[in-house]
């Protein structure tokens, strides 16, 4: 994983997020003045849109959007900004997976890039959220950040988002699993995902530290 923070000029916060196969640009602007219909009396409204790499947004993107929204709203310090709006736009540049069958790599990249962009924009967050994708092969081996082929060959695929508090995965914010798996598999996946999230968190810290040091 590597992330280029403050990638864009015109928005308050942004990030170009690269994993070996998936690329997502995220932008965040806020708090800004909302349109009357978006305004919430006591908290920050979130305008979120996910755009696919090719073609126009479909129900598939609405679904990714819904999952990202659930994660982001649970970490936003929304009551700090009553009657304000935060615009979050996620543009997939490269899906890195077969788009008809999967959405897990994009979902994980969208969540992580969105968090980066929000941190860059200085929008208040009560914790971090980091997502990892785990593929479980037929022989039971679990691979974090699988490749396109590993996804195709997997028996089940899982995207897990952890809330990171004080540098450690604290609890599950979201889990999205498809395929064929047992109860023991779930625990194994959570375990692998947690290790992967810890690594991600270390990289995240490093990236953010580099940004803070520039100033």
């Amino acid at each position: 994983m590597n992330a280029e923070i403050s990638y864009l000029d015109n928005v308050d916060g942004s990030c170009l997020y690269n994993t070996p196969h998936t690329r997502v640009v995220a932008s965040a602007t806020g708090p800004v003045e909302p349109k009357a219909r978006q305004e919430l009396p006591t908290q920050l409204a979130l305008e979120l849109s996910v755009r696919p790499a090719a073609g126009v947004a479909t129900t598939r993107e609405v679904r990714i959007q819904d999952s990202v929204r659930a994660v982001i709203t649970s970490i936003l310090a929304a009551y700090k900004y009553p009657r304000q709006l935060c615009q979050l736009t996620l543009q997939v540049l490269q899906a890195g997976e077969s788009e008809e069958l999967f959405h897990c790599l994009e979902l994980a990249a969208c969540v992580n890039s969105a968090v980066f962009a929000l941190v860059d924009a200085g929008v208040a967050l009560t914790a971090l959220a980091l997502a990892t994708t785990v593929a479980l092969a037929h022989d039971g081996t679990a691979t974090a950040e699988p490749s396109r082929q590993q996804l195709m060959d997997a028996r089940s695929v899982h995207t897990v988002v952890f809330r990171i508090v004080d540098g450690k995965p604290e609890d599950i914010l979201s889990m999205d699993s498809h395929g064929d798996f047992s109860e023991a598999d779930i625990l194994k996946v959570l375990d692998v995902a947690e290790t992967s999230a810890k690594q991600l968190n270390a990289q995240f810290r490093e990236t953010v530290l580099a940004r803070v040091n520039i100033v």
């Binding site: 308050d12 916060g13 602007t29 806020g30 708090p31 800004v32 003045e33 970490i75 310090a77 009551y79 700090k80 900004y81 009553p82 009657r83 304000q84 941190v119 860059d120 924009a121 200085g122 208040a124 967050l125 009560t126 914790a127 971090l128 809330r163 990171i164 508090v165 004080d166 540098g167 995240f204 810290r205 953010v208 530290l209 940004r211 803070v212 520039i214 100033v215």
Partner: protein, 237 residues
Amino acid sequence: MTSLVIPGDRISVDPERPVQLGPGMYCDPRTQDIVPVNAGVLHISESKRGQTVYVDYDSKRYTPAVGDLVVGVITGAFADSYRVSLASFSTPVSLSYMAFPNASKKNRPTLVIGDLVYARVCTAEKELEAEIECMDSTTGSESGFGLLENGTVVEVTLGFARHLLFDDAFPLLRLLAQHCKFEIAIGVNGKIWIKTEEVKDTIACYRSIKDCCGKPQEAFEEIIKQHFKTVTNTVEE
């Protein structure tokens, strides 16, 4: 004590003593936990009355806070106040006609839409529209606030603007002064108004400030020298 924090990190404050929360800190209304909500450098200071905690972080989007000195653009005029924009797309703030020196019902200020003003934030409640004033409300005098005529505006990050305004050791202004005479008004909302006698000097200052934003201080001198050289050369051509 300073260290890097990231949203969600635990910070050690004495729960028995009063804590003053500055920017970047948040007290969760449900759990009453004190957490940093921005990524930056954590400052904790002790005083007799209690502890003060804040996070110093850089961003582009300004949220008004009382006492801030800001540069704004008049975007509308109402019966008793102006609407002023401190940053594009942010909720506008209001500037009362009475918030000027020597203002009275009869003696109205004469600003028009598009004018730039230097002002101070006087109220900033998150639920309400913030208000700014163009005078020192303790003395009622002008104290440098008010209309900024001509010149131009450079937009920089908020952290850079704060350094420029508060950090006496920050070398930028001193270096600029070696090249030309200028008037400057620094808004912590990331807008810097600058005016010189000649357009070419303003251009050089504009480019210098813009370029220095985000660069290490050691590089400033060279950047500034370069820009002043270029503008002089362009004229000679």
